[in-house]
């Protein structure tokens, strides 16, 4: 991992004064300020002074930053103007390393493919999985040591999300850690720790395809099941999918359900530690949990942004956006927009309208796994409160070097049992 203090890149804004630097030089896309947890004031300044902001020069080329809730909503709900193709990440990937999947498709193809995958994470199916998921949560929590320091990210956040993914794919349970590796590799910046080159990244993807092709072959000849692979193998719109598209969809579901949930699990613990009065509210009334889960997801904003590409010349917030321009919706900023969200800079687990946050996006691409993510977090917190008086953060969290995946690589904690 590149650490923030060693981030000498000429593009890094770490250590710069967000309020006095030339506003046109503000570049939210550089990972440095995200890893160093310094991004908030930069976004605040843009919301106040230049909510639709053009960054002419950056390591990833020119792009627009959309920072206000209402403007983000407008972009997100205008797919005919702001396209999800060719990709929803800020970097234009090279063709040979691009995996096609419906998150980066426009209608009608997006809609056809999403309809096939969606039932597996629809609430009716989740209800059938709830018992199994709770069991797995309990197993993990029961193994944790009391009054001993350990890494919450590794022992709980990663382990739990990995087990959840294995459940969804009906993936061989013993090899489940491969899912995490593939997910990390798919989103890794070569050289930043997980893989050292694009070739290595690609080798991981090929292994993933191979294993999932095996599962496909096994299930296509069996009765249709409730797992994702079976649904894709039997779905009318997906059964003739080219291998790379199959891989793209598998990776989408692994990545979609991995980092995001993992970082909400870690982020919730951190937020409650930083806001002890909220932790007290939770201890006093556990029925707050569903509302708290939404607030944790807003507060964490596990994906800081989604990118669109303008299809036509258009105007937004008085600015002229040209066809072909990259447009980045900073959910992490919109979620702190006090024009729409009351006391947006406070973490309040019993807040009103907690569900009205941007973390899942809106419109046709709105997160398909949102109910699954909420269910996992709800069950986790229900079971944590059954066992521990406090999950105490006992050291500095370490954050991911990314402006896209907003999360933690390390969170040292100590558990205190119920007294």
């Amino acid at each position: 991992m590149t650490d923030a203090s060693a981030d000498q890149s000429k593009w890094s804004m770490v250590g710069k004064d967000p309020w006095t630097m030339p506003i046109e030089k503000i570049d939210l896309s550089h990972p440095g300020i995200w890893q160093a947890n310094e991004f908030l004031p930069f976004m605040e300044r843009l919301r106040l002074e230049d909510p639709v902001h053009y960054c002419a020069e950056s390591a990833v080329g020119p792009y627009w930053s959309i920072t206000k809730y209402k403007d983000i909503m407008q972009v997100d709900t205008s797919p005919e103007i702001f396209s999800s193709e060719p990709t929803i990440g800020i970097v234009d990937t090279y063709d040979e390393y691009t995996l096609p999947s419906f998150i980066s498709m426009d209608p009608p193809k997006h809609d056809e493919q999403r309809r096939i995958a969606q039932p597996v994470v629809a609430p009716a199916n989740l209800k059938r999985l709830e018992h199994l998921i709770r069991q797995r949560v309990c197993n993990i929590l029961d193994e944790l040591p009391l009054e001993t320091e350990f890494d919450w990210v590794k022992e709980v956040s990663i382990e739990l999300t990995t087990q959840m993914l294995a459940t969804l794919f009906d993936f061989p349970f013993e090899s489940r850690h491969k899912l995490t590796f593939w997910s990390d590799a798919a989103t890794a910046i070569p050289g930043a720790g997980v893989v050292s080159s694009n070739e290595e990244r690609w080798a991981a993807m090929e292994e993933c395809l191979q294993v999932f092709t095996g599962l496909w072959n096994e299930r296509v000849n069996a009765e249709p099941g409730n797992d994702l692979v079976s649904m894709l193998a039997h779905g009318e719109a997906t059964q003739n999918m080219p291998p790379m598209e199959y891989l793209g969809n598998i990776i989408l579901l692994i990545v979609g359900g991995n980092d995001t949930t993992r970082n909400s699990i870690s982020g919730g613990v951190l937020a409650l530690n930083e806001n002890p009065a909220e932790y007290d509210k939770l201890r006093a009334d556990r029925s707050i949990i569903p509302n708290m889960v939404s607030e944790i997801i807003r507060w964490q904003t596990p994906l800081a942004y989604m990118r669109r590409t303008a299809l036509v010349d258009t105007e937004l917030g008085g600015k002229q956006i040209k066809a072909g321009d990259k447009v980045v919706m900073w959910y992490a900023s919109g979620n702190r927009d006090s024009e729409v969200i009351d006391r947006a800079d406070e973490f309040l687990i019993d807040r009103d309208k907690a569900r009205q946050h941007l973390s899942f996006g809106f419109g046709l691409h709105r997160c398909m796994g949102n109910r699954l993510a909420e269910m996992q977090l709800r069950i986790l917190w229900e079971e944590i409160m059954q066992r521990f008086d406090m999950v105490e953060v006992v050291g500095q969290p370490e954050r991911v070097y990314s402006s896209f995946v907003k999360g933690y690589t390390h969170l040292p904690v100590r558990l205190h049992g119920l007294s």
């Binding site: 909503m73 309809r115 629809a122 569900r355 009205q356 419109g363």
Partner: protein, 106 residues
């Protein structure tokens, strides 16, 4: 005042009185009717305000616009009387409207 009956998936009924002008979603949320999440606040972009309109009222609730159709078409429990309640305007004409909620909003 316009009367609207909301029926939860469980069969539990909620009778609400509301002024014309707002949406059916707002009528539900502002009267504490459970089962409508309305995550996007009425922007036709989350589909968590899904309802089934009683057949005899369907025509009077108006046309489904293309955005609503696009969102509904992605729903796993879409039926031919599905609507997004934030897109139904309350009018005097709808006095007595009956809508049922799906088991889950998704």
């Amino acid at each position: 005042m316009v009367k609207i009956k909301f029926i939860e998936h469980s069969g539990q009924e909620h009778d609400v009185e509301t002024n014309p002008g707002a949406s059916v979603m707002v009528a539900a949320v502002s009267n504490g009717v459970p089962g409508i999440d309305a995550d996007c606040g009425g922007a036709c972009s989350c589909a968590t305000c899904h309802v089934y309109v009683d057949q005899e009222w369907l025509e009077r609730t108006g046309e489904i616009n293309p955005t609503e159709e696009a969102m509904l078409s992605l729903s796993t429990d879409r039926k031919d009387n599905s609507r997004l309640s934030c897109q139904i305007q309350v009018t005097e004409d709808l006095d007595g409207l009956v809508v049922t909620m799906p088991e889950f909003q998704f």
